[in-house]
Symmetry: D3
Subunit: 134 residues, 6 copies
Amino acid sequence: MKAYLGRRYRLSASHRLHTPALSEAENQAVYGKCANPHGHGHNYTVEVMVGGEIDAATGMVCDLAELDGCVSREVLEPFDHQNLNTLGEFRNRVPTTENLLIEIEWRLRRALRPELSLRVRVEETAKNFFEYRG
Amino acid sequence: MKAYLGRRYRLSASHRLHTPALSEAENQAVYGKCANPHGHGHNYTVEVMVGGEIDAATGMVCDLAELDGCVSREVLEPFDHQNLNTLGEFRNRVPTTENLLIEIEWRLRRALRPELSLRVRVEETAKNFFEYRG
Amino acid sequence: MKAYLGRRYRLSASHRLHTPALSEAENQAVYGKCANPHGHGHNYTVEVMVGGEIDAATGMVCDLAELDGCVSREVLEPFDHQNLNTLGEFRNRVPTTENLLIEIEWRLRRALRPELSLRVRVEETAKNFFEYRG
Amino acid sequence: MKAYLGRRYRLSASHRLHTPALSEAENQAVYGKCANPHGHGHNYTVEVMVGGEIDAATGMVCDLAELDGCVSREVLEPFDHQNLNTLGEFRNRVPTTENLLIEIEWRLRRALRPELSLRVRVEETAKNFFEYRG
Amino acid sequence: MKAYLGRRYRLSASHRLHTPALSEAENQAVYGKCANPHGHGHNYTVEVMVGGEIDAATGMVCDLAELDGCVSREVLEPFDHQNLNTLGEFRNRVPTTENLLIEIEWRLRRALRPELSLRVRVEETAKNFFEYRG
Amino acid sequence: MKAYLGRRYRLSASHRLHTPALSEAENQAVYGKCANPHGHGHNYTVEVMVGGEIDAATGMVCDLAELDGCVSREVLEPFDHQNLNTLGEFRNRVPTTENLLIEIEWRLRRALRPELSLRVRVEETAKNFFEYRG
C-alpha cells in the first residue's frame, strides 16, 4: 500500500533577478521590476511530497520528525531569512524560483532515504508556483 | 533541467446550464438549480501550468510577459465579464466548466510554443475544480 | 459573557451594473466591464456575525440550526443561482454588492431575534469585500 | 474528450495514534503528542477527483448529485463527527490519515462506476496532506 | 502612534458537546451530531490581536518572542492535542468554542502586560468563527 | 446608508530589521533572524477599507478606478519590488510592518477624499498581520 505525504514549510527571503550574461536592456526586458537594483522579497511556501509504502505497524509513510529535521537542515537553515543573491548556491545561477526549486530538490533527494519518492513544489506568490518531478 | 511554472488568473462570468438535447425534466434532473432560467455566475480561477527546460542564462522556464499576454488574449479577453451562453464558442455546447476548460486548453495549446508542455485547471467554486491533461 | 459567532455561507449569482439614471458613457465610466450588456457573475461569500450572551446551560450564543434556517430562507433561497437584475429587490436599485449587502442585512435584521447584534460582510471576489454595521 | 472533476468535502473527527504493536516509549517516539491518552481531532478535507469522458449531451464528466450521494454514504456518514478509534474499520489499524485515506479510496472505488478513474487526497491540517493514486 | 498586531496560532483538539443540564432529547436538539457519544475534533485557529503604542526605537507594538511564549504557555500547552472534555477548565462548562474562547481570552488577559489591548478570535472550521472583545 | 468597501492589493518587498539605536546584542534579542545582515523579504497584502455613503444613483461607496489609481500611486509605485531600507521613508525609522502600515495609512489618508473613512491592514506573512484605525 503506497501513499504520498505532503508537508508545507514556509520561508521568507529576498532576491534580485539580474544576470551579467545579459545586457541591462535585456535584463530589464526579461525580469522587469524583479531586476530593480536593491532587490525585493517573498514568502515562499515549500511543499515537500514523499511517497512510499505505508508501514504496517505504524500506519505511516515516513517519520514526521525525521522529515522535519531533514527539511530544517537542508532548506530552512540555509535559505530562510536570507538574501539569496549572497549565497554560494547562487553565485553562478540567477536565484529565480526555478533555480531555488532545483537546489531544494537536489538537497532533499540527497538527504532522504532512497526508497522514498520525492516531489517538490515552491509557491513564490499567490499567483506563481513551480514544480519539479525528478 | 525541466520544471513546471504554474500561474493563476481570475475571471468572472455567468452561465446557464441547459440543453435542447434534453427535456425540461431531464435538464432539471441533470443540472438542478444551474438550469434556472436567467442564469447565475462564478469567479473562475484558471491555473495554467507550463513545463519546459530551464533556460541556462535566465533561469526561467518561460517569459512571464509572453505567457501573460497569451492568456490575456486567448482567455481573459474573450471570457472575462461575459455571459458564456451568448458566445460563439458555446453556441453548440453547454457552457459547463468541463467545456470551458476544453476550450481554454485548446486555445492555449494553439498559442503557446510547442516545446512547452501544458496543463490547465479551472476552479469554479471553492468546492469544484476541473483539470485537463492533453 | 458576550461573544460573537460568525458563520460563512456561499452563493453564486449573476448581475449587470448599469443604470438608466446615467448616460451610456457615464455607465461605462463608472462600471467599466461590469456594464457589459449580457452580465457576468460571482461566487459571493456571505459572512453573518451575530453577537449575544453565551447561554450558561448550552455554552452557545445562538442555535446554529435556527441561524442556518434563517439565512437559508432570507438569503440563499432568494439570491442563490439567480440573476440579480431580474429580481424585484433590484427593480429600482443597481445590484452592486453594496446594495446586495444592504438588502441582506435588512432581511436578516428583520428575521433575527432583536437581542442579537448583527454584522454582515459580503465578499464578491478574492479582491473585494463589503461590510455593513447597523 | 477526457477531463477530471475534483470536489471537496469536509469532515471533523477525532483520533488517537497509538498501537499495541509498539512499546510505550516507541509509541511516544513515533507519534509524539498524537499519542496523548485522550485523543485530539482535526477538520479533514477530502478531495475526490474523478476522471472520465465528457458526455457530449450534458457537457459533464459525471452526475454531481450521484457523486455527492456516493461520498455522503461512503465517507461522511461513517466518519464525520466520529472518534475514528471506536470504529470497526480501525479495530486493527491505527487511524493515521494514511490509513483513513486508504479506507476512503477503497470505499469510493467500490461504489463508483468502474469507467471513472479515481484519485483521493485528504488534508489533515493546513500543513499536512495525503494522496493515493490507485 | 497606536497599532494592532495580529498573530495566528493553530491547535488540534477533540470535544463532545453534551450537558447533564439537559435531557438526551434536548442535547440532541441543541448540539446535533456534535453530541455523538465518542466526540470528534477540529483544527482550531487562534488569532490573538494586541494593540499598543509603536515603540519609537524598535518600531514594534510588542516583543514577538514574549507574545509567542505567552500564547505557548497559556494556550497551546494546555489545549493542543487534548480532549477538551477531560480538562479541569471544562469540568463545569460545555467545551463549545464560545467557552474555549472565553477561557483563552481570560488566560491571555491575565498574562499580558496591562497596557496592551487584547482581542481574540477562534476559528473552529472553515465555516465557523468566534470573537470576544473584552 | 453607509457601507465599507475593502480591497486587497499585493506587493513584494525586502527589508532588514536593525537599528543603530540598539547594540548588536539588543538588535539580535529584539529582531532575531529578521536582523540577518543581508535582509530577507515578504509578499505583503495591503487591505484598504473605505467607508462612506452609498451613492443613490450608482449604488457604490466610491469609484473603484479612482481608489485603484490612488493606491497605485501612493503605495504600489513607491514600495512594490523595493528594498524598504533603501527608501527615504525609512531613513530614520526601522522598516517594521508597523512602520510600513503607518506610512501607508498616512499617504492614503492624505490622498483620499476626506468624507471617506479609512482603515488599513497589512499582512506580512500567513501568521502576522497589522491594523491601524486612525
